[in-house]
């Protein structure tokens, strides 16, 4: 297995897995009597053919960068945080708390407060499963699944009974103040003279997401804590032998992961809706799993995978609009990507490794 160069492991194998996933998705489209090539063309023009499409693609990608980074950090530390959905739900609650109850005079102050509140709430929601894993040995996967459901019940309760303004019919909080509206991407790009469509929800959160990529990279590869987390993820036994505290590592990894998931809410709750809605997460927490798997848990990979899924989301929405292919096609593609880049990784890796071994022997 040593014959496989690093680039093949990091790029070639995920790429082949992705191609297989897309190929099977094409077969699915064929099976329901549609043309996969035409569908692909429609998706590309719909998602990337206009600045309107790009705006939505980048808006979705912003969500996936946050949740993808969240899953990645946990993966690096050997933990599987499947609770991104619940942590992002709580993050939304944090944003709503920060924006509803304090009349910020300017969006920039509100944004700082919202970043802190969303990260704090998301991290708090991850803290209990983390503590139970670290101290009581309860499996973090099961507890985070349970916490997803508890979060959704909690949010329904709060929106219906507590946060809903008097007399309002739909389950949503009041609107945040006008001063707290985040600058949209077109506002930012207009400053440097680039014309961009103004009817899309892409906003300044994208820059925070990009900064988070850099932040996670610095943390994981340039700090002592990051090294400890990765060592803990590679081998718990060896890291404990080296004096790394496993309880602390589990807590740190999950808190960072939960905080990143929570920060997704800045984009959806503050950037797009301007109020807390019932289902603002919309499965982005789960897509983070696919993004982290595809991106090999590295910030650069996560960024690229998030863009890909942003494209799929926007393209899929366009498909549903113009053809009889329902939006759920994206879920199928997402499932296949998770299956092939995650669970069936070995199926692709083994033949590729064999091929490299063969080439090496041929040279020698």
């Amino acid at each position: 297995m040593t014959a496989m160069p690093k680039w093949a492991d990091a790029v070639l194998v995920p790429l082949i897995s992705l191609l297989i996933a897309f190929f099977i998705s094409g077969l699915v489209i064929l099976a329901i009597g549609e043309d996969p090539i035409a569908a692909m063309k429609l998706m590309v023009t719909g998602a990337l053919g206009s600045t309107y499409g790009w705006g939505y693609t980048l808006y979705y990608a912003t969500n996936f960068i946050f949740t993808g980074l969240a899953v990645s950090v946990a993966f690096q530390a050997g933990l599987f945080n499947i609770g991104g959905e619940g942590q992002a739900t709580l993050g939304g609650l944090g944003v709503a708390m920060a924006c509803l109850f304090i009349p910020w005079p300017h969006w920039s102050l509100a944004l700082v407060a919202a970043v802190f509140a969303s990260a704090l709430f998301g991290a708090a929601w991850a803290a209990i499963p983390a503590y139970l894993q670290a101290k009581r040995g309860s499996h973090v996967v099961i507890t985070t699944i349970m916490f997803n459901f508890i979060a959704s019940a909690l949010l329904v309760y709060l929106l219906v009974n507590v946060l809903r303004p008097e007399g309002a019919l739909d389950s949503a909080s009041a609107r945040f103040g006008d001063a707290m509206r985040l600058p949209r991407l077109n506002d930012i790009l207009a400053l440097v003279g680039i014309p961009f469509n103004n009817r899309n929800p892409a906003n300044i959160s994208l820059l925070i997401a990009l900064a988070s990529c850099v932040g996670v990279w610095l943390l994981m590869w340039r700090t002592r804590l990051g090294y400890q987390l990765r060592a803990f993820g590679k081998s718990e036994k060896a890291s404990v032998y080296a004096g790394i505290n496993p309880v602390r590592m589990t807590m740190y990894a999950m808190l960072i992961s939960g905080g990143l998931s929570g920060m997704m809410a800045i984009n959806t709750v503050m950037g797009e809706a301007g109020r807390l809605l019932l289902n603002s997460v919309e499965g982005a927490g789960f897509i983070g799993i696919a993004v982290a798997l595809m991106g090999r848990s590295h910030p650069v990979g996560v960024l690229l995978a998030a863009l890909l899924f942003g494209f799929l989301y926007q393209g899929g929405a366009e498909l549903a609009l113009w053809t009889s292919i329902p939006r759920e096609l994206i879920i199928v593609i997402q499932a296949l990507v998770i299956l092939f880049t995650g669970a069936l990784d070995d199926m692709v890796r083994r033949p590729v490794a064999g091929l490299f071994l063969l080439m090496k022997k041929g040279k020698a």
């Binding site: 699944i145 789960f286 879920i331 998770i338 669970a343 990784d345």
Partner: protein, 321 residues
């Protein structure tokens, strides 16, 4: 709350516990053999969809059940391939199966029936009717025992009784047969089983297949018994509640019956009373919905009893060379 209401709630508890029981026993076989399965939800959903579709087209409820089991077995096959043959991450494979089912059922449903992901409503022989147990009408007038027998125990569909029969059957297979002993051993110490010359892969595939069949029955019951046809996302997290029940039951068949009945009861109470007024505090409906999950976390935390999963669970077995 009077006696008649209580009987009604218990009656609906049994009905709501049935899919949970099937799925819980399904997870039990898989996890006892060392294969974690968080894809119960997806298998149930796939089964509910195909059983609803086939029953709608053929008009036969049992063909529907067969189709449901087939769909669930297909999903189980993918899980087996990923988790056993290719030694992939079992949790990730489960997540993938959940999404695959969630997407494909709507995609195919819309394509086949164009009803927005639903299957046509089932009537007559295409869905399960109630079975009146012997003497139910005779004992009905007897106070107390009469309603319990005639209304609560009698009058369910065939799959309800099959589900309950599966409990002693599972206990017998697991604890009284050679296969069961091997299955449990594979979940605790696969190397020992391998040393004895028994195929770990074979036993694990068998366990995953049993899991597929039981999840298929769970899904078929949802579409053909509890409801009249398949609806988008109709499992509504039941696969995860079953997973919770499995932990609650500490991976034991008889406890699984108790745990699923408890969770079915919670759902029935939640359906009947949207909010419960205790005078001092009022419990909202969402509290009842979240209760199974909260209870599971408490159990997992080990504050009330300790739930210890099979030791080799989640780890692919790599044969020594």
């Amino acid at each position: 709350m009077d006696f008649a209401t209580l009987i009604q709630i218990l009656d609906s508890s049994i009905r709501l516990a049935t899919p949970l029981l099937f799925a819980c026993l399904a997870g039990l076989f898989s996890e006892r053999a060392g294969v974690f399965d968080i894809g119960l939800e997806g298998k149930m959903l796939a089964a509910a969809f195909l059983s609803g579709s086939v029953a709608a087209v053929t008009g036969s409820v049992w063909l529907g059940v067969l189709a449901g089991v087939f769909a669930s077995l297909l999903m189980a096959g993918i899980h087996g391939l990923a988790a056993i043959t290719f030694r992939g991450n079992q949790l990730i494979s489960g997540v993938a199966i959940n999404f695959l089912a969630s997407g494909l059922t709507v995609l195919l449903g819309q394509n086949w029936f164009a009803l927005g992901g639903r299957t046509p409503a089932l009537t007559g022989d295409a869905r399960f009717g109630p079975i009146t147990l012997p003497l139910a009408d005779t004992v009905a007038p007897i106070p107390f025992i009469g309603p319990i027998y005639a209304e609560m125990i009698s009058g369910h569909s065939a799959l309800v009784y099959i589900a309950i029969a599966c409990v002693p059957a599972s206990a017998w297979v697991l604890y009284r047969t050679r296969f069961g002993l091997r299955l449990r051993a594979v979940g605790e110490n696969p190397a020992a089983v391998d040393t004895a010359g028994i195929s770990v892969t074979g036993i694990r595939y068998a366990a995953v297949a049993i899991c597929g069949v039981l999840c298929g029955l769970a899904g078929a019951y949802l579409a053909l018994g509890l409801a009249a046809g398949f609806g988008k996302e109709m499992t509504a997290g039941r696969g995860f509640i079953a997973l919770a029940a499995l932990i609650f039951a500490k991976w034991r068949p008889w406890y699984a019956l108790g745990a699923t009945l408890l969770f079915g009861f919670l759902e029935a109470v939640g359906n009947r009373f949207p909010s419960i007024d205790f005078g001092v505090i009022t419990l909202p409906a969402q509290f009842m919905q979240a209760l199974p999950y909260v209870l599971t976390v408490v159990i997992l935390a080990g504050f009330i009893g300790k739930a210890t999963p099979p030791r080799a669970g989640g780890e692919p077995y790599i044969k020594e060379r």
